[in-house]
């Protein structure tokens, strides 16, 4: 770990201003990912801006019947929130599928949005990684890439986004609220928040320098069966190999409406609206899978994710329509 300056601003405005003034500054909340990366010098911020005391820890109803989740709401608290459990069950289930009890007590909503990839090579500073060191190359391509992306990857990076929460947020069409150093507020739809790697895998989100996440807003609840199916290498405390967040509303025996988002497949939560339409149209999971997996390409070690995603989707659709 490199020595760093530590700041604990008293207000949101001050936090954003500090972030703009200080070169190479990072916000820290739960620190469950950032501190690990700092110990390995994958991240070497010159200043840490501790936002834990900012008034961003509340969950409140929005006028249109949705929910506004403060950036600092802990994953454990969010998962246990009565409205989240009853009306946004896919989010509660996704959160509880992630990490461990200790980590969920510490990790925050905004921090989870910014969780970085678990690519082995990203964590190993003796290896090339375009995300860690732009222009150095990608060691995962041609390497041990069992956990890597099959969709939306580039020649520069085949990393995945490891978050469970993000997949559910994508299915729910969450909106990320931010404040810029100049005080301007902005709303970023979750679909635009995370980026594909392209030529700049080091840039993972739409956030601008110094911009601080203040909340995540959920639109009013989506009717239907909420499921989060996480396929993983052990029963708990493992990142998703593939995951599916699904909200499926039945009309009689048919699928009336569906939302499907996938984790473990790409650099961002993967959602193809055409797939949802296909499922509604035919009622067949494989038609949705065809649409989701169009253009999917394995890297050798992760080829299995393509049939796995299809089979997992079948299981989820079967469960939702059986219910």
């Amino acid at each position: 770990m490199k020595a760093f300056r530590y700041e604990r601003p008293a207000s949101i405005e001050e936090a954003a201003r500090l972030a703009a003034d200080r070169p190479n500054a990072r916000f820290i909340a739960g620190g469950t990912n950032l501190l690990d990366l700092m110990k390995l010098q994958v991240e070497t911020p010159a200043t840490l801006i501790d936002v834990n005391r900012l008034p961003l820890g509340r969950v409140e109803a929005t006028p249109d019947g949705g929910l506004r989740i403060g950036a600092l709401v802990r994953n454990a608290d969010l998962a246990a929130h009565p409205r989240v459990r009853s009306e946004y069950a896919v989010l509660s289930k996704a959160l509880l599928a992630g990490a461990s009890g200790q980590l969920r007590n510490k990790a925050t909503t905004a921090g989870n949005l910014l969780q970085r990839t678990r690519c082995y090579y990203f964590y190993d500073t003796t290896k090339p990684c375009n995300k860690r060191e732009p222009g150095s190359g990608c060691a995962a391509i041609g390497g041990f890439n069992r956990i890597h992306a099959v969709l939306g990857a580039s020649e520069a990076c085949i990393a995945t986004n490891p978050s469970d929460m993000n997949v559910a947020m994508r299915a729910l069409d969450a909106v990320v609220e931010t404040v810029a150093p100049d005080g301007a507020a902005r709303q970023i739809p979750i679909a635009d928040f995370h980026r594909l790697p392209g030529d700049t895998p080091q840039t993972e989100t739409d956030l601008r320098p110094g911009e601080l996440i203040t909340a995540v807003t959920l639109p009013k609840p989506v009717k239907g069966v909420h499921l989060y199916r996480k396929v993983r290498d052990r029963a708990s405390y493992a990142f998703a190999v593939v995951s599916v967040a699904a909200i499926i509303d039945k009309e009689g025996d048919k699928v009336g409406a569906a939302r499907l988002a996938f984790g473990g497949l790409a650099h961002k939560p993967w959602r193809v609206e055409g797939a949802e339409a296909a499922l509604v149209a035919s009622g067949r999971a494989d038609d949705a899978a065809d649409a989701v997996l169009r253009g999917a390409r394995g890297q050798g070690g992760n080829d299995f994710k393509i049939p796995l995603a299809r089979r997992t989707l079948r299981a989820v659709v079967a469960e939702a329509t059986r219910a």
């Binding site: 390995l40 678990r118 082995y120 003796t126 041990f144 079948r314 659709v317």
Partner: protein
């Protein structure tokens, strides 16, 4: 005492419901759970230590052209930076413990290339990252399969690498039913909770190391060699150890660095390996390739058994996985062959990990038996029963005790083995359900050990020995042995371990700890009993010890009244020739039920049972913990644990506990271990056998066999991760089209 004669009746036999055997809580448990038990890195005896950090090589093979220490030396708090250019002279390599920083040559990724010492841990770590190295890279060899043709016959250590009996090839060719299969197991890491850690300090030319180590007297000798000191000038202290599983059988680089640096800077130095460093900077279990060939008649009587194993280690080292050793004694067959081959690769050092040999050997062999049973249409237990030997099939000597068949039968009864169906026939919702079993066997060794026992003036007892407790319960069972032998309650027995100032002991490893240390203490108790009886004017043979008193016909006398200023005795145990005249193993049988997700191929354990025999059980609770701990190791070996090698870099890719998957609580539902009554009078005066490794032996195979029973899919490449199961499910389902929703 040496074990040349079977043990007759002992005071421990007289009280079957006595202290020994009772499942009492660990006597040091409270200290541990309250954080009051100092582990090596936390000891405070050596004042004002500086902090060290190891710098690891970033390449796997080549040379250091130059090291630039300018920035590291200038970094805040840095006291000293050691490299091969300024390292103090060192002595000779002893066993696997060698000098550090020998020169510019790099032989594996993560090899220590520098040691930074600073005022604080954070400063040492930050400065370590500033060491700049210019490497000359060379091609490395990292692939066992590619190295198989060049593999050598390893040097004989304890057992011969090859064995044969009769005419295997001829009998196999003529067999009515044949099986010829290859199994592979990956590199594994010990993943104990406490990393390697040492605090070292000097007093003149004597060094003391507070270090996480399983075998202190062995470590003392090897460190004395490397540090070029007389053995008596090296003291090792290791009072509490957070698991070892073989990784701490021998001192690692942390101990050598701490001692060297402390001498250079004239101040104690402490260092611990980071979790990531544990993967490359410590030892590992080698990957193996194993070929098993079985030939039998139509009724399942084996005529030919062959088990061949290839493993690898760093160039210049001799360690190999003795995968096929246990196969030499497990099942009867007149024609037999075992072979071990060793490849030298540019990977970190291989060494012992819980049940070296048996753990991976039975992963292969016990699945091969399951395959043969299926081919024969026989129940796997019945196949094993039909090949139960009447004596050790290779050594041709009797077994000291062997209750493999009772373990299998009792396990089958307790587990509901009769519910096992044909492969792929049982479904529970999304789960394909299967049952599997495996035999378990582990060599039972005895090592020389000594113990001192002192009757204090107040009638309490103090036990001292350079034994270790690596979390197994040694403190507790020693208190139980002394307490029962001397008729004193456990809370009146003080057990002091983990210091080479105390009498030499075997340490913890190879499943010999409890038997060896416990027997030395037994001998000391026996001596003290005799002395006290004589003092009390009693016939030693008739004297009884209970409630802190000795009696024998007349009125009883308090031990305190006989103690005077204290009486100290020493007990010693040595192996005799009984281990050659008898084949000595612990045995057991594992039963596992798994569910395999029909869509995703995820394998989840549903329940597991081990039925074991280990001679006299010294503490029912710690014995059960050892057994289920071993079984859980087996779950990891079967389903999740694999150190993945990047063949381009010679790097262990998943070198942290986020991506090297050991089982977590959710992976271990109903699990139990039971012990059948047994006393082994050929083993040691306690009549006990080792349990530390028995639980892992065969455990993973029972799970792999259950996966086969659940799905009909046989996977011969451990671990059975979901991608491998999925391949089988896809093939079975005939591709993606057939099962459209």
């Amino acid at each position: 005492m040496d074990m040349s004669q079977p043990i007759g009746s002992t005071p421990l036999d007289a009280k079957p419901d006595g202290l020994v055997g009772r499942g009492i809580d660990r006597i040091e448990g409270r200290l541990k759970v309250t954080g009051a038990a100092p582990y090596a890195y936390e000891t405070r005896e050596l004042k004002n230590p500086a902090y060290g950090m190891i710098v690891e090589a970033a390449i796997a093979r080549g040379r250091i052209r130059a090291i630039d220490l300018t920035a590291a030396r200038r970094a805040p708090g840095v006291i000293h930076v050691m490299t091969h250019e300024n390292a103090p002279p060192q002595g000779k390599k002893k066993e696997q413990v060698g000098p550090v920083l020998k020169g510019p040559e790099i032989v594996h990724f993560g090899q220590p290339i520098a040691f930074v010492v600073a005022e604080t841990f954070e400063q040492a770590r930050a400065a370590a990252a500033l060491v700049r190295v210019d490497y000359e890279r060379a091609e490395g060899r990292f692939d066992l399969r590619a190295a198989m043709p060049a593999a050598i016959v390893p040097k004989q250590v304890a057992s011969p690498p090859d064995s044969s009996l009769g005419d295997f090839e001829g009998a196999f060719a003529a067999a009515a039913v044949k099986l010829d299969v290859e199994y592979t197991t990956p590199v594994q890491t010990h993943a104990m909770m406490e990393p390697h850690a040492t605090i070292a300090g000097w007093d003149g030319d004597r060094v003391t190391l507070y270090t996480a180590n399983q075998m202190l007297n062995r470590g003392q000798v090897s460190l004395a060699s490397v540090l070029d000191l007389p053995v008596e000038n090296v003291r090792l202290v290791s009072r509490y150890i957070g698991g070892g599983f073989g990784a701490k059988l021998q001192p690692q680089a942390d101990a050598v660095f701490a001692a060297l640096a402390s001498r250079v800077i004239g101040r104690p130095v402490k260092v611990a390996l980071t979790r990531q460093q544990e993967f490359h900077g410590s030892t590992r279990r080698s990957d193996t390739i194993q070929r098993v060939r079985l030939g039998s008649d139509a009724e399942g009587r084996l005529s030919a058994i062959a088990h061949e194993s290839w493993s690898d280690t760093t160039s210049g080292d001799d360690f190999y996985e003795t995968s096929a050793n246990v196969t030499r004694s497990l099942y009867a067959a007149p024609n037999r062959l075992t072979r071990h081959r060793l490849a030298h690769l540019d990977l970190p050092l291989s060494s012992a990990m819980r049940a070296p040999g048996e753990a991976v050997g039975q992963l292969a062999f016990e699945c091969a038996m399951d395959e043969l049973a299926e081919r024969l249409g026989l129940d796997p237990i019945e196949l094993r029963v039909r090949n139960e030997p009447s004596e050790d099939p290779e050594k041709k000597v009797p077994f000291s005790t062997r209750q493999l068949v009772p373990c299998m039968r009792e396990g089958a009864r307790l587990f509901g083995w009769e519910k096992r169906g044909a492969p792929g026939s049982i479904r529970d919702g999304q789960w394909l359900v299967g049952l599997g079993m495996s035999a378990a066997a582990r060599l039972n060794p005895l090592q020389p050990s000594s113990a001192s026992l002192r009757l204090e003036r107040d009638g309490s007892l103090t036990v001292r020995m350079a034994m270790t407790d690596i979390g197994t319960g040694t403190y507790t069972i020693l208190a139980q042995i002394a307490g029962e032998m001397m008729g004193v309650p456990v809370d009146r027995v003080r057990v002091e371990l983990g210091d080479t100032l105390f009498p030499k002991a075997a340490g913890s490893g190879g499943s010999w700890g409890a038997a060896s240390a416990g027997s030395a203490l037994y001998v000391a108790c026996d001596d003290l009993r005799r002395r006290l009886a004589e003092k009390a004017g009693l016939d030693p043979a008739a004297a009884a010890f209970a409630d802190g008193r000795i009696s024998g016909g007349g009125p009883s006398v308090a031990l305190a009244d006989l103690a005077g200023e204290g009486i100290e005795v020493t007990g010693e145990i040595k192996p005799g020739d009984l281990n050659k005249r008898f084949s000595q193993y612990s045995y057991g049988a594992h039963f596992a039920e798994v569910g395999v997700d029909i869509d995703t191929g995820e394998v989840r354990l549903r329940r597991m049972l081990g039925v074991f025999t280990g001679g006299r059980i010294l503490n029912a609770k710690t014995a059960r913990s050892q057994a289920i701990g071993g079984m859980i190791f087996g779950v990891g070996a079967a389903l999740t644990e694999e150190v993945a090698i990047d063949g381009r870099f010679g790097t262990f890719v998943n070198h942290d506990l986020a991506e090297y998957h050991v089982p977590v609580h959710a992976d271990i539902p109903a699990i139990d271990a039971v012990f059948l009554p047994e006393l082994d009078d050929k083993a040691n005066p306690l009549k006990s056998k080792g349990l530390g490794e028995l639980g892992i032996c065969g455990a993973g195979a029972s799970i792999a066999n259950a996966v086969h029973n659940a799905t009909g899919i046989r996977i011969r490449d451990y671990p059975l991760t979901l991608d491998k199961v999925l391949r089988g499910l896809e093939e079975r389902d005939g591709g993606a089209q057939l099962r459209r929703t």
